[in-house]
Structures are given as C-alpha cells and as structure tokens.
Amino acid sequence: MRLRAIVAACAATFMVAGCGTSTPTKTEPAAGTTHLTVVDPWVKAAAKSEMTGAFATLKNESSKAVHIVSASSDIAMMTELHEVVTGADGAMVMQPKENGFTVEPNGSLVLEPGSFHIMFMQLHQDLRPGDQVKITLTFEDTSTQEVTALVKPFTGADEKYNKKKKKKKM
C-alpha cells in the first residue's frame, strides 16, 4: 500500500521533507502546568491563510499516562490534533485524532511530518522563518501547558550563489 500512501501524503502540502529529532535542547513551558517535556518543537513557515503543522517530541517522565485533548494558538483560526491512518482503501489519510494524543507513562510521542502532528488552518498572519509561535496544549484535566516553537524555513541552499537567482524577501 506504500504507493497510495505516498500519494495521499503528497496532498498534505504543508509538510516538509525529513527531520532529525535527535535533541540537544529542551523547551520548558513558559506557562501552565508541566505535564510533558517538549523537545525540539518547530513549525514550518507558511503564509497567511495557508495551513501548516507543528512538530516535536513529547516526553512523559511521570508514571501515569498524559492525555492531550486539544491544542490552540493565536496564529490560526483552527488548531487540530492530527493523526495519519490507513483508510479502508489502503491509502493513508490525515484526520483529527478524536480522543487527542496519549503519551504513555515514561514514554514519548513523536510529532513529525507524515505522522502525529498539530495542524494549524487558516493562519491569521505570515509565519516567517525565525518567528516564534506559542502553542497551548490542553490536558484531560483542563490544565494547560504552553510551548514556544521556532518557525523554520524550508528552502534549498543556494549552491551557486555567484550566478543570478531570484530572491524573495520574507
């Protein structure tokens, strides 16, 4: 079913290629309760009205499961917790994760392109490379945790900079 899966994933144009999530830095929450350690949070740059996603590794260092029921941010009209599943026809489909994300006791959940992620739809503003995005995670008990994620560009390196190339300002 890989072929169809790839085709389906292509529809999700906000997603980017590859990502190493090995991790030297941790972002401690700026506000709210600390349910999880959020490692390597980032958001792909996108223009106003478009959609994009947030990615990170969520580590639960406690002895009980942690349930994220929703996420929100000022940057977008809609924020959803998404999963990618194999549909009845064998194709992979992105869809809201109905019961939210569960991070097992002493476990971790990787949010990454093509898998679990936080999806922002109808952005209120451009998300420019180097901006920081605040995301609020809401847990089962209605407590919240705030995460600050870096907005990463995704452009090719300019290997032949001496030759003329059009540049866009962002």
């Binding site: 072929l3 990502c19 980032w42 180097g130 090719g156």
Partner: protein, 372 residues
Amino acid sequence: MTPSIGRRHLVTGAAALGGLAVGAGAHELATRSGAAESNQAIDFHGPRQAGVQTPPQLYASLVGLDLHAVTRDALTRLMRLLSDDAARLTQGAPALADTEPEMALAPGRLTVTFGFGPRVARLLGLDLPEMPAFKTDALQDRWRGTDLLLQIGCDDPTTLSHAQRVLLKDADPLARLVWVQRGFRDAAGASGLSMRNLMGQVDGTVNPRTPEEFDALVWSGNTTQVVVRRIEIRFDTWDRVDRRGREFTIGRTLSTGAPLTGKDEFDTPDFAATDAAGFPVIDPASHMRRARGDAKGAQFLRRGFNYDDPGDGAGLLFVAFAQDLRRQFVPSQQRIAELDLLNRWVSTIGSAHYLVPSGARPNDWVGHDELD
C-alpha cells in the same frame, strides 16, 4: 518501462515538487561507530562565543552574508534560526528538520562563530571602528565587508560541508550569500610549531595563549572584534627567492620559526643585535619587525587559515581577533603598508571586519544581549 515504474515516477516527481511528508525520527539514525578520539564536541552555549579561544580546527569556511533588510526584526529571526542550528550541529546532533541528519553526527570540534558587520553595528549602536584604507591594499569587491560573518571551523570536512549547507538554507530567506572563503591548516599534531602558512613561514608566534592574555588582548567583556583579510601570495616570484632571502624578508629562520637572533620560535627577537659589518641581524624592514607592536597591549590573536583555490590563487585567510582593532590591528597594518619587504610578494585582495557579539545562554541565541 512497466506501468508500475511509470506510476512511481509520478510519485517521486510529486515528492520533488510538493515537499513530501514522511520524516525520520532520531531512532532511525545509524550510530556511528569507531569515531576518532579527536571527534569532540565544543560547547556552543556560554558567555563568549566559541571559535575564538578554541584551538583552530583543520578547516574553516568563512561565510559573508548581507541581510535583505537591515532591521532588528530580520536580524533577530536570523540569529534565532542560526543559533538553533549551531547549538545542535556543534554537539553532533541534526538541526531541526535536517534533511541529512546522519551527516551531523561527527561534530569534529565544529564551531560556528557569528560576527556583525558595520551596518549591523550601526543598527544596534555598537562600537565597531571604521577600517582605514591601507595603501598597499588591492581590494576586490567580491571579498568586501558584509553584514554578517559566519566562521565555521571543523576537523571533519564532511561535517563542515553539511553544517554550512544547513546554515545557508536557514539564512536564505533573510540574507544573501556574498562569499565563502575556505581555508585549512596543518593536520592537528603534525607540528610542534605554530601554523605554517603556504610561504613556509611559521605564523602566529606572538599570539596570546593563556586565559589572562586572552582577557587582556582579545576579549572586551564577552565580545571581541575580528578582521578577515584575504592575502594573496605571488608564488611565481616568491618561488625564486632562496631561503636566505626569505629569512631576511621575514626576520625569522624558516625551519624553526625562531627570530634570526634566536634559536626557538618563542625567543624574543633582539632588534638591536648587529652583525660583524654593523648591520642589524633582523632587518628593520623585515616582516616581523614591521608587523610587531612593541607597545604593551598592541598584540592580537591571529587565527588564520591557508587557502588554495583551484584556478583562483592561493594565500592566507588572515583572521585576527582583538579587543579593539583600531588600537591593535590598525597600527600594525599601517606599519606594514608603509614598509615591509614582504609586500613585494603579497597583496591583500579582500577585507572585512566585524563585531563578535557575546555568546548565547542555553535556550537563547547569539546577539540577544546586543539586540536588547
């Protein structure tokens, strides 16, 4: 061609155009075995940037960038991105969204040092002296000063290449690449002497070496200044100068790097010594005599690299760090421009200078102190 191949081609093409969706987690990364002992990580975070007091690596890429817009907003975003990349890559970890995460795993003493050029210094109200014109300079616009310097040093050329690509990709939306100048030094441990440049000279003898000397000569609080000069060597004529002529020009013995009045590289030169005929042993016009500042506090850190670019000349990437370039570097360079036997065989074809801002605290970025 079978139908299945055709369909798959479409898929791969779509991936190329659309940005396909499946990433690799850290668990997929192969563990590198048998890493060389020298494959160390240098701390990125700290009050002062790495890459200054750090013993020089085998290779360096000096990257000059101009901001598309010289604004606090653009600079902040750029420094956030590049600091995040540098913090990870220097520790042997992939950058966020790294497309070749496996190529980040051998840090090889990677350091990334950032410098702010004159336009950025003015924007931030930081003190960076003007660089006077030196009459012997033959500057080419392609090696001019820029808004930003990235000094990327590494012992592993593949890691260096990857780090440079990651940094340039992240810089691309905010800054334009003006030049890359690549250099190299002796293999670590190959020589007990200071670096030998391509003219055969031992280079960097009077450098500060102790932390106290660095504090006195290089650091101004947690910042420093750096000048990058591209010095081309005219080998076609230099090759015709014999050893005695070379040593006379430099003022040092080539084999040991010792002053002509001494035995060891670090011996203090005796400029008053004369030979039987009454001539100074070290010529007053020799490079050593002219370059050397006698005043206390006039020395600075030379941390240069050789360059040898196929089809585009060879020479020295002179990289000098000083508390105050005006007080330390400029007088030395002015003496050289006035008179130096070596001028016959070298020309400075590029010059750029920068303020090196303080280092980043953990979870922070380089330049935050200066931008606040």
